[in-house]
Symmetry: C2
DNA sequence: CTCTTCGTTCCGTCTCACGGAACTCATTGT
DNA sequence: ACAATGAGTTCCGTGAGACGGAACGAAGAG
């Protein structure tokens, strides 16, 4: 029953709702009566909320999610540097960690005129399609690389890297430069530059600047991103 | 059983762990064997995580919490203005909403040298002890005020307002000025100025600037906070 | 070496989660 | 006007599995 509950909550991805009863039941392959009962229970608990007949994820979930320790400490350490980076570049800043073969975005800073990205805090994208993901991949060791190469590479745009050789080469470059570039591999029109954040010798996260390809100037952005990522790494060493 | 599960997750407040089995069992008034079973289930689901014998809240919770729609839309609308405000003041910025008689912080921006506040995203404080809370209180209607006054006012510091008359008077001032001030009522050494965010004629949130009392200059901060809050209100009207 | 204290395992009891079926209520099509 | 569809909801008999007391093992503390 617990399993069913969390399956239902997952059904709310990626928007958090609003969803109708039947949709939820269908996505989870559950009988309507079962779905209804569980949703009623969850509503009573404040985990989901009902608004004009539809269900949405509720505040209790938000509150608990906000205090998840790993993410919270990382964000706490990284946010000031992300703000520095934002002020220096005026572009969208992302902080992401790895979970399996995905990158999960943990924090984001955007300006008024920000481009709309397929990423959102709490969202997932394939490691191989994003700057943040490629950095994490390049520093996470051989076993992970083997696993990535053991299945076909996912594609989000015509520019996504789907050739294993091409990716391998790029991973090598990233390891040398300490930086990853990405051009329209996650979303057309969008480019990104990313740098790794370390703790105790291992990558724990990555920082990136995303912007329209038209404005993409790697040489200008590279030092700023590197500096910021390094700053976060230094704080992490002390605090965690 | 659902209820027990969420009771257990609440036991992780406010830090998210790490907690020992017995502590969790004790906080929830559950037998050890029951607590163990549930924690095992939750661990398997990725909702909690086990690290050297202790339990912590896990990433699945973080991801789901991040996509809770109400909070997400509000944050999305407010963040650019919060950054403006941060750049103008270089002080800690908060965004909070009301839940019952508490304020729940939904977003926060802080600089490198930031003061450590009792607030954190996902954290709760009594409405009457914070700038954000007092603003929300002042614009949420009479029923809420009645409820607040129907029980003794909570105290966080020697300066917290515990006199009903005093609070009533201040509520009046807030309604006139469209701004709330707070001096060491939530934490000694800390002051704050807050302004309401509206949507469809009702308060939905409040924005605040927090800083050491020594640097507190209401006259300088007031216009910036008001402008930012107004900006958010305008965006909300369009988008939601 | 004994006394705690914590995590873990086991198992008999009985609750309550489960989901099929039937019902209501709009909405749509003919 | 009247079926027909598809939504949300209610009901209830069955049986899986949640429950928690008790006993066990391990690791410190004094």
């Amino acid at each position: 029953m617990l399993e069913k509950t969390w399956l239902m909550l997952d059904a709310f991805r990626p928007t958090g709702g609003p969803l109708r009863l039947v949709d939820i039941a269908h996505r989870c392959q559950l009988p309507k009566s079962t779905a209804l009962r569980l949703l009623n229970d969850l509503t009573e608990l404040g985990v989901v909320v009902r608004r004009d007949g539809r269900y949405l994820l509720g505040r209790r979930l938000f509150e608990l999610g906000s205090i998840v320790p790993l993410e919270r400490d990382l964000r706490h350490a990284a946010l000031p540097f992300m703000h520095d980076l934002f002020e220096a570049t005026r572009e969208t800043i992302h902080l992401g960690v790895r979970d399996g073969l995905d990158v999960v975005y943990v924090e984001k800073i955007r300006g008024h005129e920000s481009l709309s990205l397929p990423s959102a805090v709490g969202g997932r994208l394939p490691l191989t399609c994003t700057g943040v993901g490629k950095v994490l991949l390049a520093y996470s060791g051989q076993e992970l690389l083997d696993e990535v190469f053991s299945r076909p590479l996912r594609r989000l745009t015509p520019r996504s890297i789907v050739d294993a050789g091409r990716l391998e080469e790029e991973i090598g470059q990233i390891q040398v430069q300490g930086l990853a570039y990405e051009r329209e591999e996650a979303q057309l029109g969008n480019a990104c530059i990313a740098a790794p954040i370390f703790r105790g010798g291992r990558v724990v996260a990555a920082l990136s600047v995303s912007l329209p390809v038209a404005r993409f100037q790697p040489a200008r952005l590279a030092p700023a991103v590197k500096t910021a990522a390094l700053g976060v790494s230094r704080v992490l060493v002390k605090s965690l």
